[in-house]
Symmetry: C2
Subunit: 465 residues, 2 copies
């Protein structure tokens, strides 16, 4: 992969004056603030913006964009900073616009099962707000990310198998464009055939085509009954086949996560648990009590036929949390396999018929590695993660991890899969985007050039022009 | 609305020679063939292409595009010709490329619940092919359209409420671009965060950004049990409230259609039936036998609480067909309210909380009209159609219909709805696209200019440059 070079230059003095006048004490030049906004996961060198602005309204973002574009200065939208492919690093300096204080829930329409929120609203905040109305927003990427950031990286997570990803969850966006205008990409109707799908174009564009300031989201009623289940399997393929068969016969699994044997060992150690140290599936079922009971009975039968062990399940909130504890702590359990280690997560997604093979080949690769790594995934989508526990003082480990990651991505591409199911391209996967989509990337570049001719919106991300 | 002028000129002689050499007897200059490809619904004047080519492969489409673009001649993709906003009319002449003979089912992957088909495959053909594998493709816009055409207009139909629209149904597209290259927009993974969502950009672009030659689709298992039900309501709001409440509590309605009283009267007359002539809901439920029974019991209860009459239902195929007969014949029943009349269908989509009001206001408008018209809709999405029965020899009726349609669209826009839920913009709704999305249409134009700088791919559709 070609090296990403951090280019930056001091901001023009008149821009500094104008931003200072417009944003007062929400305009920051200090190093601590810039460092916070320029740091990414361990495997990327810090790339600091030249300034940070906390925006409080779409109108302020318009002002900021007009000032920066007039001065040829890059703008990088920033939410919670939880993305993991360097998506918010200031690769060419410029101004990081922090939207986390735009955290108003603008409207909830219970009859329409939708809501409109500012980009800085976090998903946990939204779900707390919705709970008393009997509604919830399903997309759960793990981190307590902002809704704007989740839209920008096309996030998904544990229940995409039932409820889809941000691609399906968003009805409409309010966006500030590189020419300093504010647009709304769609109305609030559930569906539309009116013109190009700008909503979906902005979702996953990582802020390179526009800055999302408001998001209108589909919501769902909190199901009457929720049950969780855990089942370990003698073989990886037994676990995957159980899920494939369940989906094929139409069981609307709300969540189904796979953890490999090493991951289960890590969790047992970290959380002092005693799960069998085998490939394990974690399920969640939503519906009426009768329908959930029927789903559980069918899946338990499928699991049994595929070499599954005891099918532990519960519909009581406390017991459900206990059953899922291993899944929730999986990442930290892996990172802490060695004291002082740092974590790095990568992700690929393949057609589900290839998932057992892809995970199996990857496991062989990990077994030969000199450092610990685990596999966990959203098995219903064919999407899985490898989490590495890296010694930050051993640069040779990073070299080794990069080689394993390269083989992982190439394996997924060879199976007609994608180099990233939900993390995005950012800085980390640009060469593989080209390997994956070839000339289609030229079409993306043409769109970028047309909408952002000066290449100022999060420049250097997804691809270089 | 500004008039759409049909501009055309004779094809350059060397292009005629080259196309004739490349396509032999699949290259047509005759008037009958050109007329067939240039005619749309009654309310658009015919706009004939200068030639018609039947393509048999993506490579042939590449050849055609390169020849036409070099000669500055427009290219209009054509499938089954069932779109209804003039989407395939040759507004500026050029070559209509008929893809209906590209009807191979390239691959079906039962384990992945997906398939890849050429653009000319029709949805009924696909479902016949899939039936023995226990799979089906759910999107049902009524007409036996081609999959490529359905992708191009972002089609949906009766079961979008459960299974989504073409936006959700397509995993990946093979597309020939205006620069004469062939791209694939995505891999076959269920989800991806890799770069801009070119798949969704092409879906609904009506052939203005690329010619779709292959489509990879999500499939579903044929449900174990299917039941249908019909229930008439004293009030429109009672019918709509029943659906809203059912969706809110999470009942996964597979289909729910609304027919107004006039539509029911038309159906009774046309098909010699004796339904109550009241607002009527037609349901379909999918699932396990127990889950379907539970869904029916709950919906019957909701219907009863909302002033619904007898809740007729059946799970036997023959009886189900009988129950749904009125829905299937609705369009023809309306058109044939007067002998010799022609039909015209329009569509809007609003947030479901505004649907009863929007239909109610529209009904009052139709009651004051001099010609018959009925309302039917995909009530779960907030999407409904008005079908007019027009005397083709009375031009004043077309003027009246256009005025009613204008008020309908403006009413939907005022409710934060869209000017088209599933028919597309084509020639018919261009001014309303601007009314709906404002400056966002400029962004669409910028994308069009970047990808098709000579404006040769289905020019004059969606917007004029």
């Amino acid at each position: 992969m070609h090296p990403i070079v951090h280019e930056s230059r001091a901001l023009p003095a008149d821009l500094v004056d104008a931003l200072s006048a417009a944003f007062g004490n929400r305009f920051h030049l200090g190093e601590a603030m810039r460092t916070q906004h320029g740091q990414s996961e361990a495997h990327f060198a810090p790339m600091l913006p030249d300034a940070v602005v906390f925006a409080h309204s779409t109108e302020e973002v318009v002002t900021l964009v007009r000032l920066c574009v007039a001065a040829d200065v890059p703008i990088i939208p920033y939410g919670a900073g939880t993305s993991i492919e360097g998506n918010t690093a200031a690769a060419r300096g410029g101004v990081s616009v922090n939207l986390s204080e735009m955290d108003a829930i603008v409207a909830v329409n219970p009859d329409d099962l939708d809501c409109t929120v500012q980009a800085g609203v976090r998903r946990e905040q939204l779900n707390e707000h919705l709970r008393d109305m009997g509604l919830f927003f399903p997309i759960d990427p793990g981190a307590n990310a902002t809704i704007g950031g989740m839209a920008s990286t096309r996030a998904s997570g544990t229940n995409a198998v039932r409820y889809g990803t941000m691609r399906e969850a968003v009805l409409s966006l309010r966006v500030v464009t590189p020419d300093g205008r504010e647009i709304r990409t769609a109305r609030r109707a559930r569906k539309s055939a009116a013109g190009y799908d700008l909503t979906r174009l902005m979702i996953g564009a990582e802020g390179t085509l526009g800055i999302i300031t408001e998001v209108t989201l589909r919501l769902h009623g909190i199901p009457e009954a929720i049950s969780s289940a855990v089942c370990s399997f003698e073989t990886l393929s037994g676990a995957v086949d159980t899920v494939v068969q369940a989906i094929q016969i139409g069981i609307p699994l709300a969540r189904v996560e796979i953890l490999d044997d090493v991951q289960m060992r890590a969790v047992n150690r970290w959380s002092k648990l005693d799960y069998p140290e085998l490939t394990t599936l974690f399920f969640e079922f939503h519906g009426t009590p009768a329908h959930v009971a029927e789903q559980i009975a069918t899946v338990a039968e499928l699991a049994d036929a595929n070499g599954g062990g005891h099918f532990l399940w519960s519909n009581l909130p406390e017991e459900r949390s206990k059953l899922w504890k291993a899944r929730h702590e999986a990442y930290y359990a892996t990172v802490n396999l060695r004291p002082g280690a740092v974590g790095w997560a990568t992700d690929v997604c393949v057609p589900i018929s290839r998932l057992a093979e892809c995970i199996g080949d990857t496991k062989r690769d990990l077994e030969a590695a000199t450092l610990p790594a685990t596999i966990l995934g959203h098995v219903g989508d064919g999407n899985f993660h490898v989490v590495f526990s890296i010694d930050p003082h051993a640069p040779e480990e990073m070299v080794e991890v990069e080689a394993i990651n390269r083989r992982l991505v190439e394996r997924a591409l060879a199976m007609d899969g994608t180099c990233t199911g939900e993390h995005g391209i950012g800085l980390g996967k640009q060469d593989w985007l080209v390997a994956e989509l070839g000339d289609a990337v030229d079409m993306m570049r043409a769109i970028k050039r047309a909408l952002d001719p000066k290449d100022l919106f999060n420049p250097g991300k997804i691809f270089t022009l």
